[in-house]
Symmetry: C2
Subunit: 113 residues, 2 copies
């Protein structure tokens, strides 16, 4: 029988545990595409996400050192979410998901005849 990883040891499974949730990877996509983002920016971009879900996902990304919060002493104070170096290193994963989608799921729902 071919060698196989157990779920607990598998690096694919462990990576998914961190970022596999749908909103989480879309938050990462926004940060990779646009750079630092405010809470409101995410709400504008991710149609349908509940604010408490968004907060929980950002907290989880912070807890895993993928995102940090940056406070600017302006009036009013401005809070932004910024990718850490570890967070930026997720770029190839998000790009591979995008590239595949562009190539294989090209039926655009907004396209007209």
């Amino acid at each position: 029988m071919a060698k196989t990883y157990s779920i607990a040891d598998c690096p694919v499974a462990k990576t998914l545990d961190l970022i596999g949730e749908r909103w989480t990877i879309l938050l990462l996509r926004d940060l990779l595409l646009h750079g630092p983002r405010r809470f409101q920016d995410f709400q504008d971009s991710l149609t349908g996400v509940a604010p408490n879900t968004l907060s929980a996902r950002l907290k989880s990304l912070e807890d895993n050192a993928l995102v940090r919060r940056q406070l600017y002493n302006e009036r009013p104070p401005r809070l932004e979410y910024v990718l850490t170096e570890k967070g930026k290193s997720l770029g190839p994963i998000v790009r591979s998901l995008r590239d595949w989608g562009v190539k294989h799921l090209s039926d655009k729902p907004t396209q007209r005849k």
Copy 2:
């Protein structure tokens, strides 16, 4: 304001709709690593997956033309799940998840002091 994809149009989101579920991507991992697999092989490899969940995920992969079933006329007949060309093209996504996990999540639960 920076240009952004709506969720419906975003190729990252559309790819995740197809393969973002945890067991689904682990099934793909097994098929990419080991080639054709029987139902029982998945059950042995994916500790904790319920048989009806496994059936549903395999059906979804078939419906999306990522996996096909191959029946061998042996005694007893042997049924295997095989990646299609479209399914094989998911290789870079699974590899990017694995590479990141190997690099950033290297704390091995079985490692001793």
